[in-house]
C-alpha cells in the first residue's frame, strides 16, 4: 500500500479499517539465497538494497528480538558527515545523501530534519583543531563552516556564554546538512520497503550457530526457529558481532561497550540545532516531541548490559546543565544504553570474514545510526557480487593485519 494524502483520506472515510500491516510476519522458509543476521537499521537496509539494487529477493532478515530494538532504537538519532579522512568522508557523506532522499525513496517519512549540527570550541586548542577539521571537510567536498563566538550565541540563545561560564565557549563549527532523523522510522521504512520487494522479515528468531560444509564454507544457520539454509550470510549485529563471530569460529578486533542516552520531559521549542561539546562529552538535540535528547560518552569498560553506569550519567547531566543552566528544572524521563562495537581506529568493517560465504558489517562504534544507508548499500553490494563496494574497500578486516588503519578521530564526534 502506497502512503499518500489520498490514502490517508481513504483511510479516514473507511474509519481507518483498511490499513494493512507494514510488513508480513512469515514463517521462515527452509532455504534462502541470502540470510541477514540482525534486524536493525543496517540489516534491514542491506535486505532492501539487495532487492532494490541487485534484484535478489529470496532473502531473509533474522532478528533475535524485535525490529530496531537494539542500537537502532537506542541512539540519539543524529545524522552527520563531519569526518576527517577522505575514506570516511566519502562513506558517511554517501550515507547522508541517501538519507536526504530516503523518505521519498521508501515512501515512508523518516522525519529527516537537517537543522544543523554545532560543535562547540571551549579552548584555543579546540578552535585550532576545528579549523583543521573544517578544512579537511572542504577538501572532501562536505559542507562545513566555522562559527564565531557571536554566531554560536545567536544560534544557541540558552547556552551559557557568560565570561565566568564553567565551560567557556570561544566559537564552534557547523555542518548545516547534519541533523536528526526518526530512528524507528528508518528501521520500519527499510523493513516495509524490503518486505514489499519480497524479503522475509523474521522476528524472535535467534541465530544459535552457523552451518558449514566440508570445505568450511557457510551453508546456513541454526536458529531458535529451526535450521535455515543460505548460500551467503551477512552479519549486521553491532555490539553482538563478537558473539556471532565466535559462533562462526573467528575473532574480531572489537570490544563492546555501553553507550548511554537519556531524554527529558518535553518542552516548547528551545534548541534549534544539534549541539556537541567534544571536550565535555555531552551532546543534545530537541526531538520533534519536545524532549531534550542527551547523549553521553562511553562507559569505559566492556559491557553487554543495555544500561549505563550512574557515574557517566551524572557527569553528562552536570556538563549539560553547566552549558544550559535553564534546563536544570527538567526531569529525566528515560535513560538507557546501547551496546556498541568499538574498534581501535573507530572505523567500520564491511566485507568478507575468514569464513567463506560469511560477510560482516560492524565496528561502527558509537556512530552506526548515521551510516545505516551506506552500511546497507555496501554490505548488499558485497553479498550480491562477491566484490567489495569501492566505498567499503578501505574498511576491510585485513587492515588490522596490514596496518592500514583509518584512525578516524572525528568518528565519535566526542572524546571517548
Amino acid at each position: 500500500m502506497k502512503y499518500s494524502a489520498l490514502a490517508l483520506l481513504r483511510g479516514a472515510l473507511t474509519s481507518h479499517r483498511n490499513w494493512v500491516p507494514v510488513w508480513r510476519s512469515p514463517e521462515p522458509k527452509a532455504s534462502y539465497d541470502i540470510v541477514i543476521v540482525g534486524g536493525g537499521g543496517h540489516g534491514l537496509a542491506t535486505a532492501y538494497y539487495l532487492a532494490k539494487n541487485h534484484g535478489i529477493t529470496n532473502v531473509a532478515v533474522l532478528e533475535r528480538g524485535w525490529l530496531g530494538g537494539g542500537n537502532t532504537g537506542r541512539n540519539t538519532t543524529i545524522v552527520r558527515s563531519n569526518y576527517l579522512y577522505p575514506e570516511s568522508a566519502r562513506l558517511y557523506d554517501f550515507a547522508l545523501r541517501l538519507y536526504e532522499g530516503l523518505s521519498r525513496q521508501l515512501n515512508f517519512n523518516i522525519m529527516l530534519s537537517q537543522r544543523g549540527l554545532i560543535d562547540l570550541a571551549h579552548s584555543r586548542h579546540d578552535l585550532d583543531s576545528m579549523a583543521r577539521w573544517v578544512n579537511a571537510m572542504h577538501m572532501n567536498g562536505v559542507d562545513a563552516e566555522l562559527l564565531s563566538r557571536d554566531e554560536v550565541a545567536e544560534w544557541l540563545p540558552l547556552l551559557d556564554m557568560s565570561p565566568d561560564a564553567r565551560y567557556p565557549v570561544l566559537g564552534g563549527f557547523l555542518q548545516r546538512r547534519a541533523g536528526t532523523a526518526r530512528h524507528d522510522a528508518v528501521a520500519w521504512g527499510y523493513a516495509r520497503g524490503a518486505d514489499a520487494l519480497g524479503v522475509d522479515i523474521i522476528q524472535n528468531c535467534e541465530v544459535t550457530g552457523f552451518l558449514t560444509d566440508a570445505s568450511g564454507r557457510v551453508v546456513g544457520v541454526e536458529t531458535s526457529r529451526g535450521r535455515i539454509a543460505a548460500e551467503r550470510i551477512g552479519i549486521a549485529a553491532a555490539g553482538h558481532s563478537s558473539v556471532l563471530a565466535k559462533l562462526a569460529g573467528f575473532r574480531l578486533p572489537v570490544v563492546s561497550y555501553a553507550l548511554q542516552a537519556m531524554v527529558t520531559e518535553p518542552l516548547k521549542p528551545a534548541l534549534d540545532a544539534v549541539v556537541l561539546s567534544p571536550s565535555t562529552g555531552a551532546y543534545l538535540s530537541q526531538s520533534d516531541k519536545g524532549e531534550m535528547v542527551i547523549g553521553a560518552f562511553l562507559d569505559l569498560f566492556p559491557s553487554y548490559a543495555q544500561r549505563g553506569s550512574f557515574a557517566v550519567l551524572q557527569a553528562i547531566v552536570a556538563a549539560t546543565l553547566a552549558m544550559f543552566p535553564s534546563f536544570s528544572r527538567l526531569r529525566l524521563m528515560r535513560q538507557w544504553a546501547g551496546i556498541v562495537d568499538v574498534v581501535h581506529d573507530s572505523s567500520p568493517i564491511i566485507g568478507p570474514t575468514p569464513i567463506p560465504g560469511l560477510y560482516i558489517n560492524c565496528g561502527w562504534g558509537t556512530g552506526g545510526f548515521k551510516a545505516i544507508p551506506a552500511g546497507g548499500w555496501t554490505l548488499a553490494h558485497v553479498l550480491a557480487t562477491g566484490r567489495n563496494h569501492e566505498l567499503a574497500e578501505p574498511f576491510q578486516l585485513e587492515r588490522f593485519t596490514t596496518g592500514r588503519l583509518i584512525d578516524e578521530a572525528a568518528a565519535a564526534g566526542i572524546a571517548h
Binding site: 563478537s242 575473532r251 570490544v255 569498560f301 548490559a305 593485519t401
Partner: protein, 90 residues
C-alpha cells in the same frame, strides 16, 4: 554504580578506577608474523560472560590488579594479583 574491591583499599566506586584491557595477553616474539602481531594488538574474545581484565585504582592507591567480571551482570567473581594465574572458574 558498580563497586570494585581494590585489594589494597577495599570496596570503592567504579569512578575511582580505570579499565586497562584484557589481561593474560602474551606479547609475541619479534619473529611474529603480521597476523600474529595483529591478533596480539587488536583481536579480542570480547566475551558475553566472564571477562578476565586489568584494572587500576587510578584515583586511589594507583595499583594494578586483575578482575574476573561478568560483562552482562557486571558481577565481580574474583580479584587477583597481576602475576597470579587466572582463576579456574573464569
Amino acid at each position: 554504580m558498580m563497586q570494585i574491591k581494590c585489594p589494597w583499599c577495599g570496596m570503592r566506586d567504579e569512578s575511582e578506577f580505570l579499565w586497562g584491557g584484557t589481561t593474560h595477553l602474551t606479547r609475541p616474539p619479534l619473529t611474529a608474523t603480521d597476523a600474529e602481531w595483529a591478533e596480539y594488538l587488536f583481536f579480542r574474545d570480547n566475551p558475553k560472560g566472564v571477562h578476565l581484565e586489568r584494572w587500576r585504582h587510578a584515583h586511589g592507591c594507583g595499583q594494578w590488579f586483575n578482575l574476573a567480571r561478568h560483562t552482562v551482570t557486571h558481577e565481580v567473581s574474583s580479584v587477583y594479583a597481576m602475576t597470579e594465574p587466572p582463576p579456574r572458574s573464569g
